[in-house]
């Protein structure tokens, strides 16, 4: 059972329809396996510790060895679930029951993470070495705090995209040039023109998440990892949007968006951390090629 993840890979390797999951999740499994202790499968119902008051710190330190692995696993489960929700089936409608069950799982994790918010700060401090791993493995789909700091651009941005939908076509060109000039001083990696065409929040978040990764790698500041965890924007985990997106059956457009997105990010990547960026591109390609 302890080697479950390795052998478990075998059982679905032959299933070609899940090939896209093979690359990403086997890699997540490796990270999980290397950090976990004996009783790793949190599917076995790890009892949640209720942290009320100062007594808990002792309990925290005492049970410390199992905690990072639980959070890491939980994060991996969250990511896996989000990937499952976002993968689209080109021709046939996705199974509603499956989507609802996955969405409920994500909600559960989100609720628990919100309640246990203090946990992640402690984790970040003590597993700094693993921070980059965790960043790469877990936070592909998370929003960054840097995005939030540039908050004043974001509302106007989303406001713009709303206007874009309603604006008659002759105003588009002038509007485009306005936005491009606003965004230019920031950095070359935001794909504004592309993003304007897609009003759905989850697509925007995907792009922003990669922005965040690039920025964090450029930064290489351990504090940024804390920021990542402490200020996770819960609106990303806005399942309402994801579900609405599914209900509206805009999956075809979604896939096209992801494909165009992957090609754009490779050209816009920061030159400072080339090897890391290349690795992330590879990961992104795997994710979007699904």
């Amino acid at each position: 059972m302890e080697t479950d993840d390795r052998e478990g890979n075998r059982m679905w390797e032959e299933d070609s329809s899940h090939k896209h999951l093979l690359d990403v999740s086997s890699w997540i499994n490796c990270i999980v396996a290397s950090k976990t202790t004996k009783d790793t499968m949190f599917a076995r119902g790890i009892k949640r510790k209720c942290f009320d008051g100062e007594e808990d710190i002792e309990g925290t330190l005492a049970g410390f060895k199992s905690v990072p692995s639980y959070n890491l696993q939980r994060q991996s489960l969250l990511d896996m679930s989000l990937v499952k929700l976002q993968l689209c089936h080109m021709l046939v409608e996705p199974n509603l029951c499956r989507s609802v069950l996955i969405a409920n799982t994500v909600r559960q994790i989100q609720e628990e993470m919100t309640q246990d918010g203090t946990w992640q700060v402690i984790n970040a401090q003590n597993t700094g070495q693993a921070s980059l791993d965790r960043l790469v493995s877990s936070d592909i789909l998370c929003r960054s705090t840097k995005e939030q700091n540039e908050g004043k651009l974001v509302p106007s941005y989303s406001g713009f995209s709303k206007d874009f939908e309603n604006t008659p076509s002759q105003d588009i060109i002038s509007d485009l040039s306005t936005v491009t000039s606003v965004q230019a001083p920031r950095n070359p990696q935001s794909n504004n023109v592309w993003e304007m065409e897609n009003s759905q929040e989850n697509r925007g978040n995907f792009q922003k998440s990669l922005d965040q990764i690039f920025e964090t790698l450029e930064n290489k500041n351990p504090n940024s990892v804390e920021d990542l965890f402490s200020d996770v924007d819960n609106s990303y985990y806005d399942l309402d949007t994801v579900l609405t997106g599914m209900m509206n059956n805009t999956k075809m457009g979604h896939c096209d968006v992801l494909e165009s997105f992957s090609s754009q990010t490779t050209t816009n990547s920061n030159s400072n951390c080339k090897s890391d960026i290349n690795e992330l591109d590879h990961i992104v390609e795997i994710l979007v090629e699904s």
Binding site: D4, M11, W12, H18, A43, R44, R74, V92, Q108, T244
Partner: protein, 438 residues
């Protein structure tokens, strides 16, 4: 019967049939006919041979009786999505005359098919030749009366009713009412009531669609009419609940008469608890007193008079509980297994992975695991019981959990209504087993 302690389990492998991916299996009310539906929209019906007096050790074999294309793939132009032709369910109507009738459904459309035999044909027309060409009327000098002459048996299937455009979501169940005039069809969010004669309208009797789809957290997974009470039906949900509704109470049965739900076991709680509690199938017993539900790891028998917990629970493959994360990853955790009762409601059966299927005897509390595979079975050989080794030392002939093939799953099984004959569908093959009569 075949789980008797005094006798070894003598279950014979009778018959195997290779097809497109089989998506449903159903015996008719007499058990003489067995219908299968597949992913390609085809229905294949097998017929049991009449009992052979010389071979008393077994009952008749099943041979192909009729094959027809029930549903074709369609394209929904508004949503730019394909509508699969895969047959989700087949339900037989009780036989009223020489012809047989069944309902078959894909995700969106239900069809009533008439299957009739033709073994005679008229001969001796005055105006037509035997090959169908018209005769020149001026050459007709005498008149004769056409007569029926025997011909080779021909089985014809013709669609008699098409019930379409009533479901926005994917149909998962159909169930014929005991009044034999109406039936229900259930999709993820709604249940409709139809009259078999009327195709242009149906009544919506359950609607759990929230006003705001963003609030959707629960879907309907299966529904069935009570075998005796024509006003009663049940539907199961993805949250592990079963609701029993009485159509006499109101036109829209959104408020249940009974709610069956077992409280969660806190020691087994995990992020996957809800997913594995989702009910994939619900079946009333023939008596109508009990119903059986199948969730991912277990089969539960409920007494209709007791809502707060099942009266019996059988673990199908508890050894998978520690593998739930991997099974979530490869989507196997979403597999929908069906379950079925035997004719006397004393044994229940359901499928598992590695082409295993399980039977539970409710009286003796014994259970057995068997495998449906060609490699391990020659026709008319006795099946060997299997055992999965959950952990620790693996005994000889046991199979360890990690060597189970999760691509080989038995989702669909059926039990003859009167005899100990079972039909088990692996991905591409249909197996028919019967118990050995000594």
């Amino acid at each position: 019967m075949w789980l008797n302690q005094e006798r070894s389990t003598d279950i014979l492998f009778l018959f195997g049939y290779t097809a497109d991916i089989i998506s449903t299996v159903e015996f008719n009310h007499s058990g003489e006919l067995l219908a299968t539906g597949d992913k390609g929209g085809r229905v294949v019906i097998f017929q049991q041979e009449q009992e052979n007096k010389t071979q008393t050790h077994s009952r008749g074999e099943y041979n192909v009786y009729s094959t027809f294309q029930s549903h074709e793939p369609e394209f929904d132009y508004l949503k730019s999505l394909e509508i699969e032709e895969k047959i989700n369910k087949i339900r037989w109507l009780p036989q009223k005359n020489a012809a047989q009738f069944l309902l078959s459904t894909n995700d969106k459309t239900i069809k009533l098919w008439k299957i009739s035999e033709r073994d005679k044909r008229p001969e001796g027309y005055n105006l037509k030749e035997e090959d169908g060409r018209y005769r020149d009327p001026t050459t007709v000098t005498t008149l004769r009366v056409p007569v029926f002459r025997p011909m080779d048996l021909m089985v014809e299937a013709s669609p008699r009713r098409i019930f379409a455009n009533a479901h926005t979501y994917h149909i998962n169940s159909i169930s014929i009412n005991s009044d034999y005039e109406t039936y229900l069809s259930a999709d993820d969010l709604r249940i409709n009531l139809w009259h078999l004669e009327i195709t242009d309208r149906s009544f919506n009797i359950v609607d759990i669609k929230p006003a705001n789809m963003e609030e959707l957290t629960e879907v309907i997974t299966a529904a069935e009419f009570h075998p005796n009470s024509c006003n009663t039906f049940v539907y199961s949900s993805s949250k592990g609940t079963i609701r029993l509704c009485d159509m006499r109470a109101s036109a829209l049965c959104d408020r249940h008469s009974k709610l069956f739900e077992e409280p969660e076991d806190p020691s087994n709680r995990s992020f996957f608890s809800e997913i594995i509690s989702s009910i994939s199938d619900v079946k009333f017993s023939h008596s109508g007193r009990y119903m059986m539900t199948r969730d991912y790891l277990s089969v539960k028998i409920w007494d209709l008079n007791m809502e707060n917990r099942p009266v019996e629970t059988y673990q199908v493959h508890e050894y998978l509980r520690s593998k739930l994360c991997s099974l979530y990853e490869n989507d196997c955790i979403f597999d929908k297994f069906e379950c079925c009762w035997n004719g006397s409601d004393s044994v229940v059966m359901t499928g598992s992975y590695n082409n295993f299927f399980r039977m539970f005897d409710r009286n003796t509390k014994r259970d057995i695991t068997l495998e449906a595979s060609r490699e391990n079975n020659k026709p008319r050989t006795v099946l060997k019981p299997r055992k999965v080794c959950a952990s620790g030392k693996r005994k000889k002939d046991e199979i360890s959990v990690d060597s189970l093939d999760f691509n080989k799953k038995i989702l669909h099984t059926a039990w003859h209504p009167k005899e100990n004959i079972i039909a088990v569908a692996t991905t591409n093959n249909l197996y028919i087993f019967q118990d050995k009569v000594n």
